[in-house]
């Protein structure tokens, strides 16, 4: 099992949600966050100080899936979130030791 974390531009969340649904992802979690990368949070047409580093609003999407689904999930996110401009974000994949569905007590892949 894997946990896929994607940091994307906030206005792309709906597109990512739809794209993940198409590949069979039934559930995901979204939270607000902020961050910057090597562009220091600057937009293309940046008029501020070159050395300043700014936080930019982002959305964090988390998806738990089977190992076999990971490739499809990544492709779906990239396809939906990509604008080709700086600030598109990143995807990280972490191993997941255990998952439990709280209501039923199921665990492991059955809880996904």
């Amino acid at each position: 099992m894997k946990l896929v974390i994607a940091i994307v531009k906030p206005f792309k969340v709906d597109d990512v949600k739809e794209s993940l649904r198409e590949v069979g992802v039934a559930g995901l979690t979204v939270s607000d966050s902020r961050g910057f990368g090597r562009q220091r949070g600057h937009t293309e047409v940046y008029r501020g100080a070159e050395y300043q580093v700014d936080f930019v609003p982002k959305s964090r999407i988390e998806v738990m899936c089977d190992d076999e689904q990971v490739g499809g999930v990544i492709d779906a996110i990239v396809k939906a979130a990509r604008t080709g401009k700086i600030g598109d974000g990143k995807i990280a994949v972490l191993p997941l030791e255990e998952v439990v569905r709280i209501r039923t007590g199921e665990h492991g892949p059955d809880a996904l």
């Binding site: 562009q39 293309e44 047409v45 940046y46 008029r47 100080a49 070159e50 050395y51 401009k85 700086i86």
Partner: protein, 894 residues
């Protein structure tokens, strides 16, 4: 604007540069970046390039791009729309980002650019260094006109902001001058200081660069050449450092830090003979920049405030041929070193007293004279001036750097060039050799003012009454006029003035402190070698035989007190008597004590602590008793009967059983424990613990940052090791351990540890009890601690060897209070790790030895443990100890 067809952008890679590290490398890399940007924008024809310009800023503009340098760009336009600007940025910046380069970009009109400069000084300085990469030169000219106009109106403010920025940067990055791990860019004397001189020129003269400063006579032509050479050295080192750490693999604010473990590799890239060679060249380059930056900036600031045509205060005559001119010390033109050998030192002393510098005209001229003469004679005025300069402490540091820059030390002391800038490449020392010597003097002066302990003022004052000559000084201070302040910290002179003699005990300690490490770099023990060198130099200076002898003694024995204090049993009268015999007299003891304190502070933070200061003070006090033949005082302090009587008083009349308790303890217990400790232990011991049980108490320790942990338990083999292991597992490093076993087998042990705010004392005590009962896997707990990320040793330039010295017991020792008669002393130097003491104690116990005591000293990444053990050492004891010390040392890895 038509779409920009960049095609597939050419890939930039700094590893493609072939020039050797240095200015050539930087220029080649800059040219590659320039060419790539032009290539990406090549689809725009001539007319379409009108109205925008790609401007290089900062190091990119100066063509000094190092492998990990940021590429700072200004995309200047004349009111383009956002969509066109986006396309421009995508064409220029995206390929740079995709090449993994760090880009700082901004998109502005000329008006917006100047407005941004007004808001931030770093933006303003970047703008003063600008260069056209591609685009409309007319637009760049418009920017230049606006910048010039803005600087004319705001240069003074920008200069003041720059000075503030410099001060903040220096405070963050540390004093690079003489440092053994300098920050090549942001430290004092680093590349940024060189740049700030250039920018300061822009603020005052409207023109960026060092040449305008020469034209305006803020710098001399030779200064300019020296700065260029120093800058090239630092640029070479910076370039090579970035290449070694992987073409920018190390990012962030530490990428310009020339770490100890990287120095040999960087030297190899630069084809130098080794890390020492590299560090010496870098250190001397940093010194040059520090000196010229420090000398030039005050004048620039004064001119910015009052204007270049400001009214200068009238020159003030300080002494024969020495004047104060506009805040700097100058020597009259007709005074030369050939006819007046001490005039250079007198100028330095005058500058030191006032906390200022030797002026440019004098510095340049004297440097030329020194080079022509080769050597300078000493006279009485020169000796006095030297001591006056040293006596100013930190205030005089700038003037003494001036002396070094002029070359005075090298001309006055034959062989000085051997130690000038000599690196001490170990994690303990922070500074090169001669810088360390000067800093030790500065610390000495501060200590003499009582910054650590008011008692030190009295010791220092007492030295003033000790003299070898008894002659009154021929002049006060530098050159004949009473200085505005003199002596330690501006107080009335203690060594000169009413009734004072020159030179006196304070002067010999100043000289001894300055020269204490001059034997380093010579074969053998540096204290022994240094004594010969120091005596030679002091004699060459013309001081009398008494001063020569005393300075030699101080240099010879400068490690005696710290070594004994941290590695010997100070409760052993034999040790105290041995030190007293070596020291010989009170004056030498006082001098060595103050020198030891100053030396440890000047070395670096790893070399001193309140605990060590306490040990040194204890040793000093006990040796002093012996030397003033006050054995009665020593005996009173250490009298067993006094201890017992006082302990009874502390416990009160209702407490029963103290005498019986003490009878069962070894006799040496009462030689070691204070009355307060005896009382505390008595309360802890009664009723006696059952076998396997352990009682523990902790309280504040004898020095700041320490705690004392006392343990009472049924003794069993390995108890000391187990306790040391539990303490190590909780990050409580043991500094001192005393161990006693009663006749009935009950152990009374106490440990002085480095206290930690994070220690969970309840858990520590619980685990000590479990360990005593054999219910805790101590080895596993220690191993878990050692595996923690924050316990990993820093990368080292070379592995630390394990050294073992076994000093057998001395049967038949005549001194009744010399417990050495019945014990073996084992000294171990090894790489530091949380569990070293635990493993060593276990090895000794497994070898069948009883550990009676331990003293631990940590110096950077090395630990120095001393054990006193009882029992017959096995033949393979040394091998067992070495095996216990074996740790996986991390070697340099960048």
């Amino acid at each position: 604007m038509p779409p920009i067809d960049a095609g597939a952008p050419s890939k930039l890679d700094p590893c493609a540069v072939v020039a050797p590290p240095g200015m050539g490398w930087c220029q080649e890399w800059t040219d590659l970046v320039d060419a790539a940007i032009r290539d990406w924008l090549a689809s725009l024809s001539g007319d379409e390039q009108h109205g925008f310009v790609v401007v290089a800023l900062g190091s990119f503009a100066r063509r000094e791009l190092c492998p990990a340098s940021d590429i700072d760009l200004l995309l200047l336009h004349d009111d383009w729309g956002d969509s066109d600007l986006e396309a421009l940025v995508q064409a220029v910046c995206y390929p740079l980002w995709d090449a993994g380069l760090t880009v700082g970009h901004a998109v502005r009109t000329p008006r917006e650019a100047v407005r941004s400069a007004a808001e931030r000084v770093d933006t303003a300085t970047a703008l003063t260094d600008r260069r056209l990469v591609t685009g409309d030169p007319g637009l760049l000219d418009e920017l230049a006109i606006r910048v010039t106009r803005w600087l004319r109106r705001n240069g003074g403010r920008m200069l003041a902001d720059l000075a503030t920025l410099d001060a903040e940067r220096h405070a963050r990055s540390g004093d690079a001058a003489g440092m053994l791990e300098p920050d090549l860019k942001d430290g004092v004397g680093g590349l940024r200081d060189l740049h700030s001189l250039r920018w300061a020129g822009a603020c005052v003269l409207g023109e960026v660069g060092l040449d305008p400063l020469v034209g305006a006579r803020y710098l001399g032509a030779t200064d300019r050449q020296e700065l260029a050479r120093a800058g090239e050295t630092l640029l070479q080192a910076r370039c090579a450092l970035h290449l070694v750490t992987g073409c920018g693999g190390v990012r962030g604010t530490r990428k310009d830090w020339l770490r100890l473990d990287l120095q040999d590799e960087v030297a190899a890239v630069l084809e130098m003979s080794g890390g020492d060679d590299l560090l010496r060249r870098v250190g001397l380059a940093i010194r040059t920049i520090t000196h010229l930056h420090g000398r030039t900036w005050p004048i620039l600031l004064a001119d910015a405030r009052g204007g270049r045509r400001r009214r200068h205060p009238p020159p003030e005559v300080l002494s024969d041929g020495v004047r104060l001119v506009d805040g700097l010390v100058e020597v009259d033109a007709e005074r030369t070193l050939a006819t007046d050998p001490s005039v250079g030192l007198r100028a330095v002393a005058a500058a030191a007293i006032r906390g200022t510098h030797v002026g440019r005209t004098t510095a340049v001229r004297l440097r030329r004279e020194v080079q022509q003469l080769g050597s300078i004679e000493w006279d009485e005025a020169g000796r006095e001036a030297l001591l006056t300069a040293l006596r100013q402490g930190w205030r005089g540091s700038g003037a003494l750097v001036d002396a070094d820059s002029i070359g005075l030390q090298m001309a006055l002391l034959p062989g000085w060039e051997r130690i000038r800038g000599l690196p001490q490449r170990n994690p303990l020392h922070r500074y090169d050799l001669d810088t360390h010597g000067l800093r030790a003097v500065h610390e000495l002066v501060a200590i003499a003012e009582g910054t650590l302990d008011p008692a030190h003022c009295q010791i220092w004052a007492g030295l003033a009454g000790q003299g070898t000559g008894g002659r009154p000084p021929t002049s006060q201070g530098a050159g004949g006029r009473p200085p505005t302040s003199q002596g330690a910290g501006g107080r009335p002179p203690t060594s000169q003035g009413a009734g004072g003699s020159f030179p006196n005990g304070q002067d010999t300690v100043l000289l001894g402190t300055w020269l204490h490490d001059v034997g380093k770099g010579l074969p053998g023990d540096h204290s022994v070698a240094g004594e010969a060198v120091a005596r030679g130099w002091v004699a060459h200076m013309g001081f009398d035989a008494g001063v020569v002898r005393r300075v030699g003694q101080l240099v010879r024995h400068h490690l005696l007190l710290p070594d004994v204090a941290t590695r010997r049993d100070l409760d052993d009268d034999g040790e105290i008597l041995a030190v007293a015999r070596q020291v010989g007299d009170i004056e030498t003891l006082d001098g060595l004590y103050l020198l030891s304190l100053a030396d440890s502070r000047a070395t670096g933070p790893a070399a001193w602590s309140p605990w060590k200061d306490g040990l040194l003070a204890k040793l000093y006090s006990r040796v002093r008793h012996v030397l003033i033949d006050d054995m009665d005082a020593l005996r009173r302090e250490r009298s067993v009967s006094t201890v017992v009587v006082n302990a009874h008083a502390l416990l009160g009349a209702d407490f029963r059983g103290l005498d019986a308790l003490l009878e069962a303890l070894p006799p040496r217990y009462l030689l070691v424990a204070s009355p307060e400790q005896v009382a505390e232990h008595a309360r802890l011991l009664l009723p006696l613990p059952s076998p396997g049980a352990l009682r523990v108490r902790h309280r504040l320790g004898p020095a700041e940052g320490t705690a004392t942990v006392t343990v009472v338990a049924g003794d069993r083999r390995g108890l000391m090791a187990a306790c040391a292991g539990v303490l190590a597992a909780h990050g409580l490093g043991v500094l001192d351990a005393r161990l006693f076993t009663r006749a009935d087998g009950v152990a009374l042990d106490w440990f002085v540890v480095r206290a930690s705010d994070l220690a969970n004392w309840d858990r520590v005590c619980a685990e000590l009890r479990q360990a005593a009962a054999g219910k805790l896997d101590v080895a596993a707990a220690v191993a878990k601690r050692e595996q923690r990320r924050d316990q990993q040793p820093p990368p080292l330039a070379a592995p630390i060897p394990v050294e073992v010295a076994i000093e057998p017991s001395q049967p038949g020792a005549s001194h009744p209070r010399a417990p050495r008669a019945d014990r073996t002393r084992i000294e171990v130097r090894a790489p530091d790790a949380p569990g070293v003491l635990y493993r060593l104690a276990r090895a000794l116990t497994d070898a069948g030895l009883d550990v009676l005591g331990a003293r631990v000293d940590t110096l950077g990444p090395q630990v120095h443990d001393v054990f006193y053990v009882c029992g017959e050492p096995p033949p393979d004891l040394e091998r067992l100890i070495r095996d216990a010390c074996a740790v996986d040392q991390t070697l340099s890895g960048g």
